[in-house]
Amino acid sequence: MAGTGKAHLRDSPDVLLRIEDLVVEFPVGRTGLKVNAVSGISLDVLKGETLGLVGESGCGKSTTGRAIMQLPRPTSGSVQFEGTELTQLTGDAMREARTRMQMIFQDPISSLNPRRKVRQIVMEPLNIWKRGTDDERAKKVDSILEEVGIDPVRAGESQPHQFSGGQCQRISIARSLVLDPSLIICDEPVSALDVSVQAQVLNLLEDLKAEYGLTLIFIAHDLAVVKNISDRVAVMYLGKICEVAPSDVLYESPAHHYTSVLLNSIPVPDPEVAVTKTAIEGEPPSPVLPPPGCRFNPRCPAAQDICRSEEPQLRPVGEGHFVACHFPTVTPVELAAR
């Protein structure tokens, strides 16, 4: 049975999104082999919550985000959004559901149509969905542009390339907001920006979230960035979830060995601390032939025989804190109780 367990799923009326046993596979040419991009993960997000999704390049973060949007549809598993099973939806119902979820991408400039004026780009979704009168559309677009710090007049005259990377990311954010979505999936929205612009965009997302009552999924590889914006963080490794915890808990008491690696990799802006850190060796194994048992076992300093044969299931180690590891660095709840 694929999957790393569902102990961490919450039974709450406030659940906005619930993913269960999500699997996404891609064929490798005509070899009959497949890329195991996402291998049976389960997650939930409450209304108004920000869920951080963090992990190395290629671990399946973007694929998860796209599978939630049904772009493309997952190989198997369930995605429930606002009480509707998305994997069963087709046609207009699917299109309608997609307006309730929006995605923002890493490369702000190339994700905007280069030939159109910025104000038109932001207005486009309203035109497509024929929302409101011309007047109402214009008002809405201008107020959202103001909100994200872009001058609507300049936006009416200029194309994306006339704005900086950080400004283009603000424009993408404005565009994602015009249809009043309830969920925004941010896929590495600040990874291409320098640190000062990154801080501006992160602050903006926090403000907009409060103002519009948004729910966010925030994808990134930098745990310091993810921790700053998220309420809860899920750590992914090679298509699986290793650990789920409230952001502060994840940093204070990481339970999975891979989470420690991620924490150790963040460059610390302090020369006294920085020199004591050493990077993990090796590369993640191929998702075409993932190692049996715990997928982290080839690089894990604590791996034992059982790690190479049996897949660990997510189990609680604290309040809202779950880990999928046979030998976690924090004692599991069921053992602590004995």
Binding site: E206, L223, D231, P267, V268
Partner: protein, 361 residues
Amino acid sequence: MSDLIQASSRDIDGPLLELTDVTTHFKTARGLVRAVDGVSFTLDRGKALGIVGESGSGKTILSRSIMGLLPPRGTVRGGSIKFEGREIGNLGRKEMRSVWGKEMAMIFQDPMTSLNPVMKIGRQIAEPLQIHLGMTKQNAWATAERLLQDVRIPEPKRRLEQYPHEMSGGMRQRIMIAIALACGPTALFADEPTTALDVTVQAQILDLLGEQRRDRNMSLVLVTHDLGVVAGHTDVIAVMYGGKLVEKASTKGLFANMKMPYTEALLNSIPKLEDRSHTRLSAIAGRPPDLVNPPKGCRFAPRCPYAQPKCQTEEPPLVPTAEDPNHLYACWYPVGSPENAEIKVRLAASKGALAAAAGGN
């Protein structure tokens, strides 16, 4: 790590690199872009220098100016660049060719676009060895294999036969480093070598660069916008703003005794792991200056929280601190000075007054 090709350890006194008032301007339709505007510093042999600043501050153009890798048309260069005591600031591309590879090498941000997609990795490393060092083909391929080992690529022999697209981003960047190291350069320029990579791979690559620098007694210039990246991997840091050098100090000295409000602001904008989640980040307001019409006085003044009338009219010179002659900064009211403390008190008071006024409604 057996017989590496060592950095040419010619015993020449004095610094490896000496820049005096270097300017690089570009003629454009809008006017002259002052990308690098009067930068002076020296770099000692075997040391690692970090060049830090926001996007557009001139980091890349400064390193390209030193390497002599600038667009031939519309570029106006000034000042002096001495490498091992020899003036190279006025050399053309043709003359620089003898310097590239053996004396100085560069690795770029995007390893995919800088590798040849249709040439085997082995050939991309071996060919410069044959050309620059006159090695036989067989020798060059054997050296290439050892270089891949040095940059920790598993199964180097098999990898030599592969193409760039068959490798991950982290591996491609290792290949770039191997190519840059091939001819045993005295100085390696790494321009945002890890910006396109994820944090785990970034940590690996930075460790690798540090290790190779020590093993080869090579100088390293690390260009980045992230002060976190240079903190653990450099001896000296130069901070650039709007084409100017605004602070330079030993890495320890800089972090212990930051003088420039801009450096402080850059540091504060980085999310810190130890802060609680949802801690408001202190972003730097506004945008970097327009390099065609830079602000008069201090170029940071429009965005500086401590700016005073003097900052808007008079440009602060680069001066040493009282404690350390090698710690330079350009600011009228440096962080930690009594004048700056006074401004901080006034700012806090007016903020308090504002809050009180708002609360009183």
